[in-house]
Protein backbone atom coordinates (compact mmCIF):
# COMPACT_ATOMS: atom_id res chain seq x y z
CA UNK A 1 0.00 0.00 0.00
CA UNK A 2 1.71 3.14 1.23
CA UNK A 3 5.44 3.07 1.20
CA UNK A 4 6.52 5.48 3.89
CA UNK A 5 10.22 5.16 3.20
CA UNK A 6 9.62 6.17 -0.40
CA UNK A 7 7.44 9.09 0.68
CA UNK A 8 10.13 10.14 3.14
CA UNK A 9 12.84 10.04 0.51
CA UNK A 10 10.67 12.03 -1.91
CA UNK A 11 10.02 14.58 0.83
CA UNK A 12 13.66 14.92 1.81
CA UNK A 13 14.63 15.07 -1.87
CA UNK A 14 12.18 17.91 -2.54
CA UNK A 15 13.42 19.91 0.44
CA UNK A 16 17.18 19.45 0.11
CA UNK A 17 18.54 17.46 -2.81
CA UNK A 18 16.23 18.66 -5.59
CA UNK A 19 15.46 22.00 -3.98
CA UNK A 20 13.12 23.86 -6.33
CA UNK A 21 15.23 26.98 -6.38
CA UNK A 22 18.80 25.86 -6.05
CA UNK A 23 18.77 22.80 -8.25
CA UNK A 24 15.75 23.07 -10.52
CA UNK A 25 15.56 26.83 -11.11
CA UNK A 26 11.82 26.99 -10.52
CA UNK A 27 10.34 30.06 -8.88
CA UNK A 28 13.33 32.36 -9.27
CA UNK A 29 11.23 35.48 -9.93
CA UNK A 30 9.45 35.60 -6.54
CA UNK A 31 12.67 34.29 -4.94
CA UNK A 32 14.52 37.37 -6.18
CA UNK A 33 11.57 39.74 -5.91
CA UNK A 34 10.36 39.24 -2.33
CA UNK A 35 13.54 38.34 -0.50
CA UNK A 36 14.58 41.76 0.74
CA UNK A 37 13.20 41.19 4.25
CA UNK A 38 12.95 38.01 6.31
CA UNK A 39 9.34 38.71 7.41
CA UNK A 40 7.93 39.09 3.92
CA UNK A 41 9.90 36.16 2.59
CA UNK A 42 8.48 34.03 5.40
CA UNK A 43 4.95 35.06 4.39
CA UNK A 44 5.63 34.32 0.74
CA UNK A 45 7.09 30.93 1.61
CA UNK A 46 4.02 30.00 3.69
CA UNK A 47 1.69 31.03 0.89
CA UNK A 48 3.67 28.99 -1.62
CA UNK A 49 3.59 25.86 0.58
CA UNK A 50 -0.17 26.20 0.87
CA UNK A 51 -0.86 26.81 -2.82
CA UNK A 52 1.56 24.12 -4.01
CA UNK A 53 -0.05 21.55 -1.73
CA UNK A 54 -3.60 22.43 -2.73
CA UNK A 55 -2.71 22.73 -6.43
CA UNK A 56 -1.14 19.25 -6.38
CA UNK A 57 -4.26 17.85 -4.73
CA UNK A 58 -6.71 19.58 -7.09
CA UNK A 59 -4.80 18.90 -10.29
CA UNK A 60 -4.52 15.17 -9.62
CA UNK A 61 -8.21 14.29 -10.32
CA UNK A 62 -8.28 16.84 -13.14
CA UNK A 63 -5.33 15.15 -14.79
CA UNK A 64 -7.06 11.77 -14.47
CA UNK A 65 -10.15 13.26 -16.10
CA UNK A 66 -8.07 14.71 -18.95
CA UNK A 67 -6.46 11.30 -19.41
CA UNK A 68 -9.84 9.58 -19.60
CA UNK A 69 -11.11 12.10 -22.15
CA UNK A 70 -7.86 11.76 -24.14
CA UNK A 71 -7.24 15.48 -23.89
CA UNK A 72 -3.67 15.19 -22.62
CA UNK A 73 -2.49 18.00 -24.89
CA UNK A 74 -4.70 20.43 -22.95
CA UNK A 75 -2.66 19.91 -19.75
CA UNK A 76 -0.76 23.20 -19.76
CA UNK A 77 -3.80 25.36 -20.51
CA UNK A 78 -5.98 23.57 -17.98
CA UNK A 79 -3.43 23.57 -15.18
CA UNK A 80 -2.62 27.25 -15.45
CA UNK A 81 -6.32 28.13 -15.42
CA UNK A 82 -6.88 25.85 -12.43
CA UNK A 83 -3.97 27.44 -10.57
CA UNK A 84 -5.09 30.97 -11.40
CA UNK A 85 -8.65 30.34 -10.23
CA UNK A 86 -7.40 28.42 -7.20
CA UNK A 87 -5.26 31.33 -6.09
CA UNK A 88 -8.20 33.67 -6.57
CA UNK A 89 -10.44 31.33 -4.58
CA UNK A 90 -7.92 30.91 -1.77
CA UNK A 91 -7.60 34.68 -1.62
CA UNK A 92 -11.36 35.17 -1.24
CA UNK A 93 -11.64 32.33 1.28
CA UNK A 94 -8.82 33.62 3.46
CA UNK A 95 -10.23 37.14 3.37
CA UNK A 96 -13.50 35.86 4.85
CA UNK A 97 -12.33 33.03 7.11
CA UNK A 98 -8.86 33.97 8.29
CA UNK A 99 -8.39 37.73 7.95
CA UNK A 100 -5.20 37.75 10.01
CA UNK A 101 -3.42 35.32 7.70
CA UNK A 102 -4.80 37.20 4.70
CA UNK A 103 -3.34 40.43 6.01
CA UNK A 104 0.00 38.75 6.61
CA UNK A 105 0.24 37.41 3.07
CA UNK A 106 -0.90 40.66 1.48
CA UNK A 107 0.03 41.17 -2.15
CA UNK A 108 2.04 37.97 -2.38
CA UNK A 109 -0.99 35.78 -2.72
CA UNK A 110 -2.09 36.89 -6.23
CA UNK A 111 1.55 36.87 -7.37
CA UNK A 112 1.74 33.12 -6.83
CA UNK A 113 -0.18 32.49 -10.05
CA UNK A 114 2.89 33.36 -12.08
CA UNK A 115 5.26 31.44 -9.81
CA UNK A 116 6.64 28.74 -12.04
CA UNK A 117 7.29 26.46 -9.06
CA UNK A 118 3.55 25.91 -8.74
CA UNK A 119 2.97 25.00 -12.37
CA UNK A 120 6.26 23.11 -12.28
CA UNK A 121 5.26 20.90 -9.37
CA UNK A 122 1.94 20.03 -11.00
CA UNK A 123 3.60 19.17 -14.32
CA UNK A 124 6.24 17.08 -12.54
CA UNK A 125 3.55 15.18 -10.66
CA UNK A 126 1.94 14.18 -13.94
CA UNK A 127 5.24 13.42 -15.65
CA UNK A 128 6.39 11.14 -12.84
CA UNK A 129 2.82 9.73 -12.59
CA UNK A 130 2.74 10.10 -8.82
CA UNK A 131 -0.39 8.88 -7.03
CA UNK A 132 -2.59 11.24 -5.02
CA UNK A 133 -0.75 11.09 -1.70
CA UNK A 134 2.69 11.25 -3.26
CA UNK A 135 1.61 14.29 -5.31
CA UNK A 136 0.43 16.15 -2.23
CA UNK A 137 3.56 15.21 -0.27
CA UNK A 138 5.77 16.33 -3.15
CA UNK A 139 3.84 19.60 -3.47
CA UNK A 140 3.98 20.47 0.22
CA UNK A 141 7.63 19.49 0.70
CA UNK A 142 8.60 21.32 -2.47
CA UNK A 143 6.99 24.37 -0.89
CA UNK A 144 8.94 23.79 2.32
CA UNK A 145 12.12 23.68 0.24
CA UNK A 146 11.12 27.01 -1.30
CA UNK A 147 10.48 28.49 2.17
CA UNK A 148 13.86 27.28 3.43
CA UNK A 149 15.66 28.73 0.42
CA UNK A 150 13.93 32.11 0.45
CA UNK A 151 14.33 32.63 4.22
CA UNK A 152 18.03 31.71 4.11
CA UNK A 153 18.54 34.01 1.14
CA UNK A 154 16.61 36.90 2.71
CA UNK A 155 18.63 36.74 5.92
CA UNK A 156 21.86 36.95 3.94
CA UNK A 157 20.47 39.71 1.77
CA UNK A 158 19.51 41.88 4.74
CA UNK A 159 23.18 42.09 5.66
CA UNK A 160 24.22 42.58 2.06
CA UNK A 161 22.60 46.02 2.07
CA UNK A 162 25.33 47.40 4.30
CA UNK A 163 28.34 45.81 2.66
CA UNK A 164 30.46 47.38 -0.02
CA UNK A 165 30.86 45.84 -3.44
CA UNK A 166 32.04 46.92 -6.93
CA UNK A 167 29.69 49.50 -8.43
CA UNK A 168 28.55 47.44 -11.41
CA UNK A 169 27.67 44.54 -9.11
CA UNK A 170 25.47 46.66 -6.83
CA UNK A 171 21.91 45.50 -6.28
CA UNK A 172 20.81 42.59 -8.37
CA UNK A 173 24.09 41.01 -9.56
CA UNK A 174 25.54 40.70 -6.06
CA UNK A 175 22.29 39.09 -4.92
CA UNK A 176 22.70 36.57 -7.75
CA UNK A 177 26.25 35.82 -6.63
CA UNK A 178 24.93 35.22 -3.12
CA UNK A 179 22.28 32.89 -4.48
CA UNK A 180 25.00 31.10 -6.45
CA UNK A 181 27.00 30.51 -3.27
CA UNK A 182 23.89 29.19 -1.53
CA UNK A 183 23.32 26.89 -4.49
CA UNK A 184 26.88 25.67 -4.09
CA UNK A 185 26.13 24.87 -0.46
CA UNK A 186 22.97 22.99 -1.44
CA UNK A 187 25.02 21.03 -3.97
CA UNK A 188 26.53 19.34 -0.94
CA UNK A 189 23.19 17.61 -0.34
CA UNK A 190 23.30 15.87 -3.70
CA UNK A 191 25.24 12.98 -2.19
CA UNK A 192 22.42 12.43 0.26
CA UNK A 193 20.44 9.26 -0.35
CA UNK A 194 17.81 7.87 1.98
CA UNK A 195 17.34 4.10 2.15
CA UNK A 196 18.18 3.81 -1.52
Amino acid sequence: MLDFTELFSIALGAILVNNFIFSQFLGICPFMGVSKKVDTSLGMGMAVIFVMGVASAVCYPINRLLGDLELDFMQTVTFILVIASLVQFVEMFLQKAMPSLYEALGVYLPLITTNCAVLGVVLQNTQNSYDFITSVVYGVTGGIGFLLAIVLFASVRERLEFSECPKSFEGFPIALVTAGLLALAFLGFSGLKVFA
Binding site: F22, S23, Q24, F25, L26, G27, I28, C29, M32, F73, M74, Q75, T76, V77, I80, L81, A84, T113, T114, N115, C116, L119, G120, L123, Q124, Q127, P166, K167, S168, F169, E170, F172, P173, I174, L176, V177, A179, G180, L181, A183, L184, L187
Partner: protein
Protein backbone atom coordinates in the same frame (compact mmCIF):
# COMPACT_ATOMS: atom_id res chain seq x y z
CA UNK B 1 7.31 54.82 -32.06
CA UNK B 2 9.78 53.87 -34.72
CA UNK B 3 11.21 50.46 -35.43
CA UNK B 4 14.83 51.34 -34.79
CA UNK B 5 13.99 52.68 -31.33
CA UNK B 6 12.05 49.52 -30.49
CA UNK B 7 14.91 47.24 -31.48
CA UNK B 8 17.38 49.31 -29.51
CA UNK B 9 15.14 49.05 -26.45
CA UNK B 10 14.57 45.31 -26.83
CA UNK B 11 18.21 44.47 -27.42
CA UNK B 12 20.02 46.86 -25.13
CA UNK B 13 18.40 49.62 -23.09
CA UNK B 14 15.27 47.69 -22.10
CA UNK B 15 16.62 44.17 -22.48
CA UNK B 16 14.06 41.81 -20.91
CA UNK B 17 16.62 39.78 -18.96
CA UNK B 18 19.43 42.10 -17.98
CA UNK B 19 17.51 45.35 -17.49
CA UNK B 20 13.89 44.41 -16.79
CA UNK B 21 15.06 41.32 -14.86
CA UNK B 22 12.28 39.09 -16.19
CA UNK B 23 12.31 35.43 -17.15
CA UNK B 24 15.11 34.44 -14.80
CA UNK B 25 14.14 30.80 -14.32
CA UNK B 26 14.57 29.67 -17.90
CA UNK B 27 17.60 31.93 -18.45
CA UNK B 28 19.57 30.13 -15.80
CA UNK B 29 18.11 26.66 -16.11
CA UNK B 30 18.56 25.77 -19.76
CA UNK B 31 21.70 27.68 -20.77
CA UNK B 32 24.08 24.73 -20.66
CA UNK B 33 24.61 24.19 -24.40
CA UNK B 34 24.30 26.49 -27.41
CA UNK B 35 21.64 24.22 -28.92
CA UNK B 36 19.35 24.64 -25.89
CA UNK B 37 19.88 28.39 -25.78
CA UNK B 38 19.00 28.99 -29.43
CA UNK B 39 16.06 26.61 -29.27
CA UNK B 40 14.59 28.18 -26.15
CA UNK B 41 15.24 31.72 -27.38
CA UNK B 42 13.51 31.14 -30.71
CA UNK B 43 10.54 29.37 -29.05
CA UNK B 44 10.01 32.34 -26.76
CA UNK B 45 10.46 34.76 -29.67
CA UNK B 46 7.75 33.01 -31.70
CA UNK B 47 5.33 32.72 -28.77
CA UNK B 48 5.95 36.31 -27.67
CA UNK B 49 5.36 37.71 -31.16
CA UNK B 50 2.20 35.69 -31.80
CA UNK B 51 0.68 36.39 -28.38
CA UNK B 52 1.53 40.09 -28.72
CA UNK B 53 -0.29 40.19 -32.07
CA UNK B 54 -3.39 38.41 -30.77
CA UNK B 55 -3.56 40.40 -27.54
CA UNK B 56 -3.11 43.63 -29.46
CA UNK B 57 -5.98 42.63 -31.78
CA UNK B 58 -8.20 41.79 -28.82
CA UNK B 59 -7.18 44.70 -26.63
CA UNK B 60 -10.47 46.58 -27.09
CA UNK B 61 -12.66 43.51 -26.54
CA UNK B 62 -11.02 42.11 -23.40
CA UNK B 63 -12.67 43.54 -20.26
CA UNK B 64 -10.19 45.19 -17.97
CA UNK B 65 -11.02 43.13 -14.89
CA UNK B 66 -10.27 39.70 -16.33
CA UNK B 67 -7.47 40.74 -18.65
CA UNK B 68 -4.70 38.75 -16.93
CA UNK B 69 -6.70 35.52 -17.18
CA UNK B 70 -7.40 36.23 -20.88
CA UNK B 71 -3.72 36.89 -21.59
CA UNK B 72 -2.74 33.65 -19.86
CA UNK B 73 -5.20 31.65 -21.96
CA UNK B 74 -3.88 33.17 -25.20
CA UNK B 75 -0.27 32.54 -24.14
CA UNK B 76 -1.00 29.00 -22.94
CA UNK B 77 -2.60 28.23 -26.30
CA UNK B 78 0.51 29.26 -28.24
CA UNK B 79 2.81 27.49 -25.77
CA UNK B 80 0.86 24.25 -26.31
CA UNK B 81 1.18 24.63 -30.08
CA UNK B 82 4.94 25.19 -29.89
CA UNK B 83 5.32 22.35 -27.37
CA UNK B 84 3.55 19.88 -29.67
CA UNK B 85 5.46 21.09 -32.76
CA UNK B 86 8.80 20.69 -30.99
CA UNK B 87 7.84 17.21 -29.77
CA UNK B 88 7.00 16.22 -33.34
CA UNK B 89 9.83 17.80 -35.32
CA UNK B 90 12.69 18.41 -32.84
CA UNK B 91 12.35 15.65 -30.22
CA UNK B 92 15.98 16.14 -29.08
CA UNK B 93 15.40 19.78 -28.22
CA UNK B 94 12.05 19.01 -26.63
CA UNK B 95 13.55 16.39 -24.32
CA UNK B 96 16.54 18.51 -23.31
CA UNK B 97 14.40 21.57 -22.52
CA UNK B 98 11.87 19.31 -20.80
CA UNK B 99 9.65 21.06 -18.31
CA UNK B 100 10.74 24.51 -19.40
CA UNK B 101 8.74 24.51 -22.64
CA UNK B 102 5.34 24.28 -20.90
CA UNK B 103 6.69 26.67 -18.27
CA UNK B 104 6.99 29.42 -20.91
CA UNK B 105 3.34 30.08 -19.93
CA UNK B 106 4.48 31.60 -16.66
CA UNK B 107 7.55 33.27 -18.13
CA UNK B 108 7.16 36.84 -16.91
CA UNK B 109 8.56 38.32 -20.14
CA UNK B 110 5.52 37.31 -22.17
CA UNK B 111 2.90 38.35 -19.63
CA UNK B 112 4.91 41.49 -18.91
CA UNK B 113 4.99 42.59 -22.57
CA UNK B 114 1.30 41.75 -22.99
CA UNK B 115 0.41 43.92 -20.02
CA UNK B 116 2.81 46.79 -20.62
CA UNK B 117 2.94 46.98 -24.42
CA UNK B 118 0.53 44.87 -26.48
CA UNK B 119 -2.53 45.96 -24.50
CA UNK B 120 -1.82 49.60 -25.31
CA UNK B 121 -0.38 49.60 -28.83
CA UNK B 122 -1.37 48.70 -32.39
CA UNK B 123 -0.88 45.31 -34.05
CA UNK B 124 2.21 46.15 -36.10
CA UNK B 125 4.01 47.88 -33.25
CA UNK B 126 3.19 44.95 -30.94
CA UNK B 127 4.51 42.42 -33.44
CA UNK B 128 7.77 44.36 -33.77
CA UNK B 129 7.97 44.67 -30.01
CA UNK B 130 7.61 40.90 -29.72
CA UNK B 131 10.42 40.32 -32.21
CA UNK B 132 12.72 42.90 -30.59
CA UNK B 133 12.18 41.67 -27.03
CA UNK B 134 12.42 38.05 -28.15
CA UNK B 135 15.73 38.78 -29.88
CA UNK B 136 17.03 40.52 -26.76
CA UNK B 137 16.15 37.42 -24.73
CA UNK B 138 17.73 35.08 -27.31
CA UNK B 139 20.97 37.04 -27.40
CA UNK B 140 21.37 36.93 -23.62
CA UNK B 141 20.65 33.19 -23.66
CA UNK B 142 23.25 32.62 -26.38
CA UNK B 143 25.87 34.68 -24.52
CA UNK B 144 25.21 32.75 -21.31
CA UNK B 145 25.33 29.43 -23.16
CA UNK B 146 28.65 30.21 -24.80
CA UNK B 147 30.24 31.27 -21.49
CA UNK B 148 28.90 28.34 -19.48
CA UNK B 149 29.62 25.75 -22.14
CA UNK B 150 33.17 27.00 -22.59
CA UNK B 151 33.99 27.17 -18.88
CA UNK B 152 32.02 24.11 -17.88
CA UNK B 153 32.73 21.64 -20.66
CA UNK B 154 35.48 23.31 -22.68
CA UNK B 155 33.41 23.03 -25.86
CA UNK B 156 31.71 25.42 -28.26
CA UNK B 157 28.46 24.97 -30.16
CA UNK B 158 27.38 21.56 -28.86
CA UNK B 159 24.39 20.32 -30.84
CA UNK B 160 24.62 23.10 -33.42
CA UNK B 161 27.95 22.63 -35.18
CA UNK B 162 28.45 18.99 -34.27
CA UNK B 163 26.73 16.75 -31.69
CA UNK B 164 29.44 17.25 -29.07
CA UNK B 165 30.73 20.63 -30.23
CA UNK B 166 34.31 21.68 -30.84
CA UNK B 167 36.64 20.85 -27.97
CA UNK B 168 38.61 23.99 -27.17
CA UNK B 169 39.93 23.44 -23.66
CA UNK B 170 41.64 20.10 -23.00
CA UNK B 171 39.72 17.86 -20.62
CA UNK B 172 40.60 18.36 -16.97
CA UNK B 173 40.64 22.14 -17.10
CA UNK B 174 36.87 22.88 -17.39
CA UNK B 175 35.00 23.32 -14.10
CA UNK B 176 31.90 21.17 -14.03
CA UNK B 177 30.35 23.65 -11.60
CA UNK B 178 29.66 26.10 -14.42
CA UNK B 179 27.13 23.71 -15.94
CA UNK B 180 25.55 23.01 -12.55
CA UNK B 181 23.04 25.53 -11.07
CA UNK B 182 25.86 27.43 -9.34
CA UNK B 183 27.28 28.42 -12.70
CA UNK B 184 23.89 29.68 -13.81
CA UNK B 185 23.65 32.14 -10.94
CA UNK B 186 27.26 33.31 -11.24
CA UNK B 187 27.19 33.72 -15.02
CA UNK B 188 23.96 35.70 -14.96
CA UNK B 189 25.37 37.90 -12.20
CA UNK B 190 28.45 38.66 -14.29
CA UNK B 191 26.41 39.26 -17.47
CA UNK B 192 24.05 41.68 -15.69
CA UNK B 193 26.97 43.43 -13.99
CA UNK B 194 28.72 43.86 -17.35
CA UNK B 195 25.49 45.22 -18.85
CA UNK B 196 25.08 47.72 -15.99
CA UNK B 197 28.69 48.80 -16.45
CA UNK B 198 28.27 49.47 -20.18
CA UNK B 199 24.83 51.07 -19.83
CA UNK B 200 25.99 53.48 -17.16
CA UNK B 201 29.14 54.56 -18.94
CA UNK B 202 27.95 55.85 -22.35
CA UNK B 203 24.95 57.51 -20.71
CA UNK B 204 27.22 59.77 -18.70
CA UNK B 205 29.29 60.55 -21.82
CA UNK B 206 26.10 61.41 -23.72
CA UNK B 207 24.87 63.71 -21.00
CA UNK B 208 28.17 65.53 -20.73
CA UNK B 209 28.25 65.98 -24.52
CA UNK B 210 24.80 67.50 -24.51
CA UNK B 211 25.80 69.79 -21.72
CA UNK B 212 28.94 70.90 -23.54
CA UNK B 213 26.94 71.64 -26.71
Amino acid sequence: MNIKQQFKEGLITQNPVTVQLLGMCSTMAITTTLFNGIGMGLSVLVILTLSNIIISLLRKIIPNKVRIACYIVVIAGFVTIVDLLLKAYLPDLSSSLGLFIPLIVVNCIILGRAESFASKNGVLASAIDGIAQGLGYTIILVVMCVIREFLGGGTFGAGVISPKGIQILPSGIPALGMILPVGGFLTLAVVIAAMQYFLNRPKKDGESEEVSK
